[in-house]
Protein backbone atom coordinates (compact mmCIF):
# COMPACT_ATOMS: atom_id res chain seq x y z
CA UNK A 1 0.00 0.00 0.00
CA UNK A 2 2.94 2.32 0.70
CA UNK A 3 4.13 1.59 -2.86
CA UNK A 4 0.67 2.49 -4.18
CA UNK A 5 0.84 5.82 -2.35
CA UNK A 6 4.39 6.55 -3.56
CA UNK A 7 3.66 5.60 -7.18
CA UNK A 8 0.65 7.91 -7.34
CA UNK A 9 2.56 10.73 -5.65
CA UNK A 10 5.18 10.32 -8.37
CA UNK A 11 2.47 10.38 -11.06
CA UNK A 12 0.92 13.49 -9.47
CA UNK A 13 4.28 15.25 -9.46
CA UNK A 14 4.98 14.59 -13.13
CA UNK A 15 1.51 15.16 -14.52
CA UNK A 16 2.11 18.49 -16.20
CA UNK A 17 -0.77 19.41 -18.48
CA UNK A 18 -3.71 17.47 -17.07
CA UNK A 19 -5.31 14.05 -17.28
CA UNK A 20 -4.12 13.09 -20.75
CA UNK A 21 -0.55 13.28 -19.46
CA UNK A 22 -1.38 11.26 -16.33
CA UNK A 23 -2.70 8.26 -18.27
CA UNK A 24 0.52 7.16 -20.00
CA UNK A 25 2.44 7.78 -16.74
CA UNK A 26 0.06 5.56 -14.76
CA UNK A 27 0.13 2.96 -17.54
CA UNK A 28 3.94 2.72 -17.37
CA UNK A 29 3.98 2.42 -13.59
CA UNK A 30 1.17 -0.06 -12.96
CA UNK A 31 1.64 -2.33 -16.00
CA UNK A 32 5.42 -2.69 -15.65
CA UNK A 33 4.97 -3.57 -11.99
CA UNK A 34 2.45 -6.24 -12.97
CA UNK A 35 -0.25 -4.62 -10.81
CA UNK A 36 -2.79 -4.50 -13.64
CA UNK A 37 -2.83 -5.94 -17.17
CA UNK A 38 -2.66 -3.61 -20.14
CA UNK A 39 -6.09 -4.67 -21.48
CA UNK A 40 -7.75 -4.07 -18.10
CA UNK A 41 -6.04 -0.70 -17.93
CA UNK A 42 -7.50 0.44 -21.26
CA UNK A 43 -11.02 -0.48 -20.24
CA UNK A 44 -10.43 1.46 -17.00
CA UNK A 45 -9.44 4.51 -19.02
CA UNK A 46 -12.61 4.23 -21.15
CA UNK A 47 -14.75 4.11 -18.01
CA UNK A 48 -12.75 6.94 -16.40
CA UNK A 49 -13.40 9.14 -19.41
CA UNK A 50 -17.10 8.47 -19.47
CA UNK A 51 -17.81 9.08 -15.79
CA UNK A 52 -17.89 12.45 -14.05
CA UNK A 53 -14.79 13.83 -12.37
CA UNK A 54 -11.24 14.55 -13.55
CA UNK A 55 -10.02 11.65 -15.72
CA UNK A 56 -6.71 11.18 -13.86
CA UNK A 57 -8.45 10.96 -10.48
CA UNK A 58 -10.91 8.45 -11.91
CA UNK A 59 -8.10 6.21 -13.19
CA UNK A 60 -6.19 6.50 -9.90
CA UNK A 61 -9.32 5.60 -7.92
CA UNK A 62 -9.98 2.64 -10.20
CA UNK A 63 -6.45 1.22 -9.97
CA UNK A 64 -6.42 1.68 -6.18
CA UNK A 65 -9.81 0.00 -5.83
CA UNK A 66 -8.83 -2.99 -7.98
CA UNK A 67 -5.77 -3.53 -5.80
CA UNK A 68 -6.92 -2.93 -2.22
CA UNK A 69 -10.64 -2.09 -2.32
CA UNK A 70 -11.91 1.18 -0.85
CA UNK A 71 -8.75 1.95 1.22
CA UNK A 72 -6.72 1.52 -1.98
CA UNK A 73 -9.01 3.88 -3.89
CA UNK A 74 -8.55 6.52 -1.17
CA UNK A 75 -4.78 6.09 -0.96
CA UNK A 76 -4.26 6.30 -4.73
CA UNK A 77 -6.33 9.45 -5.19
CA UNK A 78 -4.93 11.18 -2.10
CA UNK A 79 -1.38 10.31 -3.20
CA UNK A 80 -2.20 11.76 -6.60
CA UNK A 81 -3.33 15.16 -5.26
CA UNK A 82 -0.70 15.52 -2.49
CA UNK A 83 2.13 16.96 -4.65
CA UNK A 84 -0.32 19.43 -6.26
CA UNK A 85 -1.30 20.60 -2.79
CA UNK A 86 2.25 21.53 -1.82
CA UNK A 87 3.28 23.00 -5.18
CA UNK A 88 0.08 24.90 -5.96
CA UNK A 89 -0.12 26.42 -2.45
CA UNK A 90 3.47 27.64 -2.81
CA UNK A 91 2.71 29.05 -6.28
CA UNK A 92 -0.39 30.79 -4.91
CA UNK A 93 1.63 32.69 -2.31
CA UNK A 94 4.38 33.54 -4.83
CA UNK A 95 1.67 34.72 -7.23
CA UNK A 96 0.31 37.16 -4.66
CA UNK A 97 3.79 38.62 -4.18
CA UNK A 98 4.95 38.88 -7.78
CA UNK A 99 1.76 39.11 -9.86
CA UNK A 100 2.43 42.72 -10.83
CA UNK A 101 6.11 42.28 -11.73
CA UNK A 102 7.05 42.89 -15.36
CA UNK A 103 8.18 39.29 -15.93
CA UNK A 104 5.12 37.57 -14.43
CA UNK A 105 2.71 39.88 -16.28
CA UNK A 106 4.26 38.84 -19.58
CA UNK A 107 4.31 35.14 -18.66
CA UNK A 108 0.60 35.25 -17.97
CA UNK A 109 -0.10 37.17 -21.16
CA UNK A 110 1.25 34.30 -23.27
CA UNK A 111 0.19 31.38 -21.06
CA UNK A 112 -3.37 32.67 -21.22
CA UNK A 113 -3.26 32.99 -25.00
CA UNK A 114 -1.79 29.46 -25.18
CA UNK A 115 -4.69 28.18 -23.07
CA UNK A 116 -7.15 29.68 -25.54
CA UNK A 117 -5.32 27.69 -28.24
CA UNK A 118 -5.57 24.62 -26.00
CA UNK A 119 -9.31 25.01 -25.45
CA UNK A 120 -9.78 25.45 -29.21
CA UNK A 121 -7.75 22.30 -29.78
CA UNK A 122 -9.82 20.27 -27.30
CA UNK A 123 -13.02 21.61 -28.90
CA UNK A 124 -11.83 20.63 -32.39
CA UNK A 125 -10.74 17.16 -31.32
CA UNK A 126 -14.02 16.42 -29.56
CA UNK A 127 -16.17 17.67 -32.43
CA UNK A 128 -14.09 15.56 -34.77
CA UNK A 129 -14.67 12.42 -32.74
CA UNK A 130 -18.42 12.90 -32.37
CA UNK A 131 -19.72 14.89 -35.35
CA UNK A 132 -17.18 15.03 -38.19
CA UNK A 133 -14.97 12.08 -38.99
CA UNK A 134 -11.96 13.05 -41.07
CA UNK A 135 -9.98 9.80 -41.00
CA UNK A 136 -10.25 9.00 -44.73
CA UNK A 137 -12.70 11.55 -46.11
CA UNK A 138 -15.04 14.04 -44.47
CA UNK A 139 -18.01 12.20 -43.04
CA UNK A 140 -20.77 14.03 -41.18
CA UNK A 141 -22.91 12.35 -38.52
CA UNK A 142 -26.18 14.19 -39.26
CA UNK A 143 -28.10 12.89 -36.25
CA UNK A 144 -25.34 14.05 -33.92
CA UNK A 145 -25.13 17.40 -35.71
CA UNK A 146 -28.90 17.94 -35.40
CA UNK A 147 -28.77 17.04 -31.71
CA UNK A 148 -25.83 19.43 -31.24
CA UNK A 149 -27.99 22.22 -32.70
CA UNK A 150 -30.97 21.33 -30.50
CA UNK A 151 -28.79 21.18 -27.38
CA UNK A 152 -27.21 24.54 -28.23
CA UNK A 153 -30.68 26.12 -28.22
CA UNK A 154 -31.50 24.37 -24.92
CA UNK A 155 -28.20 25.58 -23.50
CA UNK A 156 -28.98 29.14 -24.55
CA UNK A 157 -32.38 28.95 -22.86
CA UNK A 158 -31.02 27.31 -19.69
CA UNK A 159 -27.73 29.23 -19.38
CA UNK A 160 -28.03 29.44 -15.61
CA UNK A 161 -28.25 25.66 -15.17
CA UNK A 162 -25.59 23.93 -17.30
CA UNK A 163 -25.87 20.68 -15.28
CA UNK A 164 -29.52 20.42 -16.35
CA UNK A 165 -28.42 20.56 -20.00
CA UNK A 166 -25.86 17.79 -19.30
CA UNK A 167 -28.66 15.56 -17.98
CA UNK A 168 -30.83 16.45 -21.00
CA UNK A 169 -27.91 15.59 -23.27
CA UNK A 170 -27.68 12.15 -21.66
CA UNK A 171 -31.45 11.56 -21.99
CA UNK A 172 -31.69 12.82 -25.59
CA UNK A 173 -28.61 10.74 -26.46
CA UNK A 174 -30.29 7.61 -25.11
CA UNK A 175 -33.43 8.35 -27.14
CA UNK A 176 -31.94 9.42 -30.48
CA UNK A 177 -28.39 8.10 -30.83
Amino acid sequence: MIMLLLVFMYVGLFTIGGGMVAIPLILQEVVSRGWISEATFYSMVAIAQSTPGPVGINVATYVGFEMYGIPGALIASIGFVLPSFVIVSTLASLLRKYRSSNLVIHWFLYIKAAIIGLIGYTLFKMTQVIVFHTDTYLHVEWKELALLGALSILFYLLRKKPWLVIIMGAVLGMIFL
Binding site: V55, F65, S77, V81, A114, L148
Partner: protein
Amino acid sequence: MVSILQIFLVFLKIGAFTFGGGLAMIPVIKREIVDKGWINEDELSDYIAVGQTAPGMIAVNIAILVGTHLRKWKGAVAAVLGVILPSLVVITVIASFLSEFDSIPLVQAALKGIMLVVVILLAFALFDIGKKAITNVYLLAYALVCFSLLYFFSIPTSLVILFSVLVGSVHAYIVYRKQVKK
Protein backbone atom coordinates in the same frame (compact mmCIF):
# COMPACT_ATOMS: atom_id res chain seq x y z
CA MET B 1 -17.34 35.04 4.49
CA VAL B 2 -17.93 31.85 2.52
CA SER B 3 -18.30 28.81 4.79
CA ILE B 4 -16.17 25.66 4.48
CA LEU B 5 -19.33 23.64 3.87
CA GLN B 6 -20.38 25.92 1.00
CA ILE B 7 -16.95 25.52 -0.62
CA PHE B 8 -17.20 21.74 -0.27
CA LEU B 9 -20.72 21.61 -1.75
CA VAL B 10 -19.94 23.82 -4.73
CA PHE B 11 -16.86 21.77 -5.63
CA LEU B 12 -18.86 18.57 -5.13
CA LYS B 13 -21.27 19.86 -7.77
CA ILE B 14 -18.39 20.83 -10.04
CA GLY B 15 -16.78 17.38 -9.67
CA ALA B 16 -20.07 15.63 -10.35
CA PHE B 17 -20.74 17.54 -13.58
CA THR B 18 -17.26 17.53 -15.06
CA PHE B 19 -17.14 15.15 -18.00
CA GLY B 20 -14.15 14.78 -20.26
CA GLY B 21 -11.30 16.45 -18.43
CA GLY B 22 -10.45 19.60 -16.57
CA LEU B 23 -11.03 22.21 -19.27
CA ALA B 24 -14.68 21.20 -19.57
CA MET B 25 -15.00 22.20 -15.93
CA ILE B 26 -14.09 25.85 -16.49
CA PRO B 27 -17.52 27.07 -17.66
CA VAL B 28 -19.15 25.30 -14.69
CA ILE B 29 -16.65 26.89 -12.28
CA LYS B 30 -17.31 30.25 -13.81
CA ARG B 31 -21.07 29.93 -13.24
CA GLU B 32 -20.73 28.56 -9.74
CA ILE B 33 -17.95 30.76 -8.38
CA VAL B 34 -17.52 33.92 -10.41
CA ASP B 35 -21.24 34.55 -10.77
CA LYS B 36 -21.61 34.12 -6.99
CA GLY B 37 -18.97 36.82 -6.53
CA TRP B 38 -16.55 34.55 -4.64
CA ILE B 39 -13.69 35.49 -6.96
CA ASN B 40 -13.57 37.80 -9.99
CA GLU B 41 -13.01 36.90 -13.61
CA ASP B 42 -9.37 38.09 -13.69
CA GLU B 43 -8.53 35.97 -10.65
CA LEU B 44 -10.20 32.95 -12.26
CA SER B 45 -8.17 33.36 -15.44
CA ASP B 46 -4.95 33.65 -13.37
CA TYR B 47 -5.90 30.45 -11.55
CA ILE B 48 -6.62 28.63 -14.80
CA ALA B 49 -3.17 29.62 -16.05
CA VAL B 50 -1.47 28.47 -12.83
CA GLY B 51 -3.62 25.32 -12.65
CA GLN B 52 -2.61 24.39 -16.16
CA THR B 53 1.09 25.08 -15.59
CA ALA B 54 1.52 23.39 -12.20
CA PRO B 55 1.79 19.59 -11.93
CA GLY B 56 -1.36 17.60 -11.23
CA MET B 57 -4.93 17.62 -12.48
CA ILE B 58 -6.18 21.03 -13.63
CA ALA B 59 -9.52 20.57 -11.86
CA VAL B 60 -7.78 19.75 -8.58
CA ASN B 61 -5.29 22.60 -8.94
CA ILE B 62 -8.05 25.14 -9.53
CA ALA B 63 -9.91 23.72 -6.52
CA ILE B 64 -6.78 24.25 -4.37
CA LEU B 65 -6.31 27.82 -5.63
CA VAL B 66 -9.94 28.88 -5.20
CA GLY B 67 -10.18 27.12 -1.82
CA THR B 68 -7.01 28.83 -0.57
CA HIS B 69 -8.25 32.17 -1.86
CA LEU B 70 -11.51 31.85 0.08
CA ARG B 71 -10.51 30.18 3.35
CA LYS B 72 -6.75 29.43 3.41
CA TRP B 73 -5.73 25.75 3.66
CA LYS B 74 -9.05 24.63 5.18
CA GLY B 75 -10.82 25.94 2.10
CA ALA B 76 -8.33 24.15 -0.15
CA VAL B 77 -8.89 20.83 1.64
CA ALA B 78 -12.69 21.25 1.43
CA ALA B 79 -12.54 22.13 -2.27
CA VAL B 80 -10.28 19.18 -3.16
CA LEU B 81 -12.38 16.70 -1.17
CA GLY B 82 -15.48 18.03 -2.91
CA VAL B 83 -14.01 17.76 -6.37
CA ILE B 84 -12.66 14.20 -5.94
CA LEU B 85 -15.56 12.71 -3.95
CA PRO B 86 -17.82 12.09 -7.00
CA SER B 87 -14.94 10.20 -8.70
CA LEU B 88 -14.39 8.06 -5.61
CA VAL B 89 -18.06 7.17 -5.27
CA VAL B 90 -18.92 6.66 -8.96
CA ILE B 91 -15.79 4.65 -9.82
CA THR B 92 -16.07 2.49 -6.70
CA VAL B 93 -19.71 1.67 -7.52
CA ILE B 94 -18.93 0.91 -11.17
CA ALA B 95 -15.86 -1.15 -10.30
CA SER B 96 -17.81 -3.26 -7.84
CA PHE B 97 -20.85 -3.95 -10.02
CA LEU B 98 -20.03 -3.63 -13.67
CA SER B 99 -16.97 -4.68 -15.57
CA GLU B 100 -18.18 -3.86 -19.08
CA PHE B 101 -19.89 -0.57 -18.24
CA ASP B 102 -18.73 1.32 -21.32
CA SER B 103 -19.85 -1.40 -23.78
CA ILE B 104 -23.56 -1.13 -22.92
CA PRO B 105 -25.19 0.56 -25.99
CA LEU B 106 -27.57 2.73 -23.95
CA VAL B 107 -24.65 3.97 -21.83
CA GLN B 108 -22.68 4.77 -24.99
CA ALA B 109 -25.63 6.75 -26.40
CA ALA B 110 -26.00 8.72 -23.16
CA LEU B 111 -22.26 9.45 -23.12
CA LYS B 112 -22.38 10.73 -26.70
CA GLY B 113 -25.23 13.04 -25.71
CA ILE B 114 -23.18 14.32 -22.75
CA MET B 115 -20.15 14.85 -25.00
CA LEU B 116 -22.26 17.06 -27.28
CA VAL B 117 -23.14 19.27 -24.31
CA VAL B 118 -19.45 19.37 -23.33
CA VAL B 119 -18.67 20.61 -26.86
CA ILE B 120 -21.18 23.45 -26.38
CA LEU B 121 -19.75 24.27 -22.94
CA LEU B 122 -16.24 24.41 -24.36
CA ALA B 123 -17.32 26.65 -27.25
CA PHE B 124 -18.82 29.12 -24.77
CA ALA B 125 -15.71 28.92 -22.56
CA LEU B 126 -13.54 29.64 -25.59
CA PHE B 127 -15.33 32.93 -26.29
CA ASP B 128 -15.81 33.84 -22.65
CA ILE B 129 -12.17 33.41 -21.63
CA GLY B 130 -10.93 34.45 -25.07
CA LYS B 131 -12.48 37.91 -24.68
CA LYS B 132 -10.35 38.47 -21.57
CA ALA B 133 -7.13 36.77 -22.65
CA ILE B 134 -6.86 37.94 -26.25
CA THR B 135 -6.48 41.70 -26.03
CA ASN B 136 -4.65 42.38 -29.31
CA VAL B 137 -3.93 40.92 -32.76
CA TYR B 138 -0.52 39.54 -31.73
CA LEU B 139 -2.00 37.48 -28.91
CA LEU B 140 -4.67 36.18 -31.29
CA ALA B 141 -1.91 35.13 -33.69
CA TYR B 142 -0.03 33.53 -30.80
CA ALA B 143 -3.14 31.57 -29.72
CA LEU B 144 -3.49 30.32 -33.32
CA VAL B 145 0.18 29.29 -33.37
CA CYS B 146 -0.35 27.31 -30.14
CA PHE B 147 -3.46 25.72 -31.60
CA SER B 148 -1.48 24.65 -34.70
CA LEU B 149 1.39 23.26 -32.61
CA LEU B 150 -1.07 21.12 -30.68
CA TYR B 151 -3.34 20.15 -33.56
CA PHE B 152 -1.03 19.66 -36.54
CA PHE B 153 2.24 18.80 -34.82
CA SER B 154 0.95 17.01 -31.70
CA ILE B 155 3.34 18.97 -29.46
CA PRO B 156 2.67 18.15 -25.77
CA THR B 157 0.74 20.82 -23.83
CA SER B 158 3.53 21.10 -21.26
CA LEU B 159 5.99 22.17 -23.98
CA VAL B 160 3.55 24.74 -25.35
CA ILE B 161 3.18 26.24 -21.86
CA LEU B 162 6.96 26.21 -21.37
CA PHE B 163 7.36 27.92 -24.75
CA SER B 164 4.85 30.58 -23.63
CA VAL B 165 6.91 31.27 -20.50
CA LEU B 166 9.95 31.68 -22.76
CA VAL B 167 8.18 34.05 -25.18
CA GLY B 168 6.82 35.97 -22.18
CA SER B 169 10.32 36.31 -20.72
CA VAL B 170 11.71 37.63 -24.00
CA HIS B 171 8.85 40.13 -24.29
CA ALA B 172 9.39 41.21 -20.66
CA TYR B 173 13.11 41.68 -21.36
CA ILE B 174 12.40 43.88 -24.40
CA VAL B 175 10.00 46.01 -22.37
CA TYR B 176 12.61 46.25 -19.58
CA ARG B 177 15.35 47.35 -22.03
CA LYS B 178 13.12 50.06 -23.48
CA GLN B 179 12.41 51.41 -19.98
CA VAL B 180 16.10 51.43 -19.15
CA LYS B 181 16.94 53.38 -22.31
CA LYS B 182 14.37 56.03 -21.44
